[in-house]
Symmetry: C2
Subunit: 293 residues, 2 copies
Amino acid sequence: MALAANMIVLAFGSAASAGAPSLAQILDSSPPGDWRAVDPAELLVMTLPKGRVVIELAPQFAPNHVMNVKRLARAGFFDGLSVVRAQDDYVAQWGDADSSHSTGEGRLRLKAEFDRRYAAGEPFVALPDPDTYAAKTGFAGDFPAARDPKTGLTWLTHCYGMVGAGRAIDPDSGGGAELYAVIGQSPRQLDRNVTLLGRVIDGMEILSSLPRGHGEMGFYQTPPERITIAAVKLASDLPPGERPGFQVLRTDSATFAAVVQNRRFRRDDWYKVPAGRIDVCNVPLPVRRTPAN
Amino acid sequence: MALAANMIVLAFGSAASAGAPSLAQILDSSPPGDWRAVDPAELLVMTLPKGRVVIELAPQFAPNHVMNVKRLARAGFFDGLSVVRAQDDYVAQWGDADSSHSTGEGRLRLKAEFDRRYAAGEPFVALPDPDTYAAKTGFAGDFPAARDPKTGLTWLTHCYGMVGAGRAIDPDSGGGAELYAVIGQSPRQLDRNVTLLGRVIDGMEILSSLPRGHGEMGFYQTPPERITIAAVKLASDLPPGERPGFQVLRTDSATFAAVVQNRRFRRDDWYKVPAGRIDVCNVPLPVRRTPAN
């Protein structure tokens, strides 16, 4: 049944006003060059019973963790493991709940990649608005990120859909054999405390709508509750017919600048008081399937 | 199967360090007077197939909408209606998708209660950290809220679990016959654009883990996808044996101040870089069942 025309619902800004283009209009009129084809060698495809979760990796922030996750995916390490945790308003986590990866393929422990120095002139698309947690927020490599000019450090930010590598108490105890995705309010207190290595660009709702676990920290209490991972593969290792193709809107494009302004100042008929500001984790990062041709 | 002792997972701060009490320890040692019994006359109980969603109403911010929602609940208006929308990283919404409430019990339209003036000396538990959207954030009546000293206005903030009244383009077109709850990153751009009237204090995961809708704005596309509401009742109208009893930690208590500091400066063994700051939507608002005796 379609949306009834007379429906009295909160429209949340679907109605563009006469003067201002809607978000959809901005994207529809974007030139092809404002989109970046996601490299299939940096695209992780996790197959769950309800579908595929597709993650773009961020080697520019976590080169060693990304390399190891690729190695693990190629070795079939994740295949047959499970989603073991879903904590409401926090994270979903997958990998080996029984720590069998303390030996074998998954045993590698890596030095933390929580943050890194940024180079003078290194691209960063800065947002103009204040942030609770960081001196400067914006986008680097089309991922949400932050900077502290005082220390010269930059890091990825824990926004909805960001993917990181679980670790134990030792900061150098992560490796990528256990991964998590943010499924609630951005837990920015985790920034610089755990290695973020990518972002879910498709299938996020498969993780966010998982039943929550009722053990400590949202772990599933019994093995039958866990969700089995059929496979985690790099898109570049999939047969061409199964390989998903995605494009991400370049955050250094004019189209993206228009998207940000559209979201900072909502000028459609529904909004009465435009915020005039935006949090880095509220900025949409548009993704689309690679258009035919 | 219990959490294995040797588990290599991201602990996210479950391990308290020797010197600092954990969040659980802070709450365990709280005096009874730091908790406020939620008035059952301000508690809405929505029964869905997977359990109860319990909402504390906020008459201090939306007196007319709250009064109308109570009236509708008492009239059985919501009983047999449905959750009609679940948009990922945004809201779940329930009420009458066919707008049959444009006549009958649900037809009342109310003036917007987006914000209001605050009185000199009116209690407000302010947070010390900067916020992207508002001059001042904190807690009022134990709900997350904001203030603008320049205009003398205060309003509730769209944090995870907050509940509001859907409306059409006209700001005075809401009434409470359609309600929504935030299930993702706090959509703070909605602040002052829609009437917030309460907060989910129990059963939030029932809403947040709903399958997402694939129609426009996350509406379910077919009636069978909708989740039927068995009933929405005021707790005070339920038989004593079915009436849930909850206590909320008073945000003006010493215990809450300790909770906020604990979350601003994570001093357990897992955290390496305490944020030293917190966003109003990242502050936990502890709720517990009324203790026996």
